[in-house]
């Protein structure tokens, strides 16, 4: 997969089958659409292409809302590459772009991208005031010479799989449900920072992470996790919560890795959320807290063993 950042650079050597979207999280619904598109492009000898945006259009149009990305741009690109897409066009989303009439934008795509087919979901729309909905895009296609193909969205438990639905599940701590829609456990990456050594004083070494504040984080509480450094992956338990001592109200992730004693300071750690264990709560004394952490770790071992047995 080639990645380019401007329409001029795309220079497709063949006619293209294109999809447009933010593809945040590249969940199973996105994958479903992209797989069909790649298949179609192969059958017709065309180039498979996705046009995506960074930052997320919502972050530009509603700067007052705190973004909650489900993926980093690299993760998104990696998953699209794994689906064997030929070309990813990553355009910066700007207010000017948002104000462009749908007809102008589509005309530009047809000229620059040798566009023959556009594949989107039924609720898709683009252009100024979201005027370019499915009906408008179909009509524009007849004029500009591309076919519009509407892909039925993928359902899970009777509901459409969407990035918004996944964000809601994460807000409720339902990481297993989120994983079903994503097709993989939800994960975040962070650099291990110097903590208060609180864990060590209790007899459990922990790694403190401050995840990217623009990333969605599961609800506060304790989770069973997989944690990976460069080439090792360990089971573990993680606590998500606000550490008042940091004063900024930002949420932190504190992870204890099972059977690991190395120093992770300043390394990047990828944390995958496997299961919600319990909400965060206060303990009467240190002994009660230590006892609860022991139980959490035992439970995490059981959960991870159960998963390993299923594999």
């Amino acid at each position: 997969m080639r990645i380019v950042h401007t329409l001029e650079q795309a220079q497709p050597e063949r006619d293209t089958v294109l999809t447009i979207g933010s593809f945040d999280g590249v969940h199973r619904g996105h994958q479903h659409l992209v797989r069909q598109l790649v298949q179609r492009a192969r059958e017709t000898g065309r180039l498979s292409m996705a046009l995506s945006f960074y930052p997320h259009p919502r972050a530009v149009l509603h700067p007052e809302l705190r973004p909650a990305y489900l993926s980093t741009p690299q993760e998104r690109a990696a998953i699209l590459a794994a689906l064997e897409l030929d070309l990813l066009l990553l355009l910066p989303f700007t207010k000017e772009l948002a104000a462009t009439p749908a007809a102008d934008f589509m005309g530009e795509l047809v000229r620059r991208l040798r566009l023959r087919e556009l594949w989107v979901g039924p609720d898709f729309s683009l252009g100024r005031g979201r005027e370019g909905d499915v009906a408008a895009l179909r009509a524009l296609g007849q004029e500009l010479g591309y076919a519009l193909h509407v892909v039925e969205p993928l359902m899970e438990n009777g509901e459409v799989i969407s990035s918004t639905r996944i964000r809601h599940l994460l807000q409720e701590g339902q990481v297993e449900e989120a994983a079903k829609l994503l097709g993989r456990p939800y994960s975040v990456m962070g650099t291990v920072i110097q903590g208060a050594h609180r864990g060590r004083s209790l007899g459990f070494r922990t790694a403190n992470l401050r995840p990217d504040p623009e990333r969605a984080l599961p609800a506060d509480g304790v989770y069973v996790i997989w944690a990976s450094t460069g080439n090792e992956r360990h089971g573990g338990v993680a606590n998500i919560g606000v550490r008042p001592s940091f004063g900024t109200g930002e949420r932190l992730l504190e992870a204890h890795l099972l059977d690991y004693s190395g120093d992770l300071y300043s390394q990047d750690l990828l944390v995958e959320f496997v299961r919600f264990l319990r909400p965060e709560r206060r303990f009467a004394d240190t002994a009660a807290l230590v006892e609860q952490i022991r139980r959490d770790i035992a439970q995490a071992r059981a959960v991870l063993a159960e998963i390993a047995a299923q594999e």
């Binding site: 950042h5 998104r76 080439n231 004063g247």
Partner: protein, 309 residues
Amino acid sequence: MDLPGGGGRGPALAGVLVLDKPQGLTSHDVVAEVRRLTGVRRVGHAGTLDPLATGVLLVCLGPATRLAEYLAEGRKSYRATIHLGLATDTWDAAGRVVEEHSWEHLSREAVEEALAHFRGAIWQVPPMYAALKRDGQPLYRLARQGVEVERAPRQVHIDDLQLLAWQPPRVTIELTCSKGTYVRSLAHELGQRLGVGGHLAELVRLAVGPFRLEQAVNLERFRALCATGGWRAALLPLEDAVRHLPRLEVDGDAARRLALGQIVALPPGEDDHPHAVYDGRGRFLGIVRYRPDQGGWQPEKVFVTPEKL
């Protein structure tokens, strides 16, 4: 623990796979898939390859996982395409464009001249995933409220750096480098040196130590081999994983001592450098290191038991 073919019984389940990693998968994804396909429980890789990169990924099976660290030590060769004129926040193509400069004035000579500065021992700043910006301020700066997350530059060694193609604004190079070199950092720094910014657009790993892309099996082919049960043929023997290390040959007595984990007093070798140790019959026994303070060779990884000697 048994050596492949050494005990003459059962299938050999220790060895090294030289895979050509497809784009999009993490190195860990590949390990998980090999584990699933082969049913071998202990699988590990030597030397992470970024999800967007392709090329040589060494996957160790069974006891060979204990040799992964020596494989990862090996020098690596890459073919990289750097896009000049566009700087991204992640230093690769997946990031967000943060600077755009005209590159039309750049000549092949100017690029050659800039590349010359990256040959030999150089200091490099590792890329930071968190080099993402928020309100124009890098996240790591925000992360400093009370804590410092700064990455120290480190010394790496690059040689055989060659310009293969100059198709402005893209330059394709090949290089061989020491462990710990980030080609992403090189792309970023080349852009800085030329004053136009740049990012790593494509990366293929051509070799890790003695293992080259030409001998690599692609994952699709490996899946097919697993379906027909013929995957063991793709496995290189354990000893191939250490062929690049200096050799030490020992007699039967020293071999027994090493198998028991004891230090053996033999003439010194290069300090603190792992050596592959063999017995008089050419059988691979394990990895040893010379310890001047101990006055002998200390076993680090042993692949035989005293009874088997």
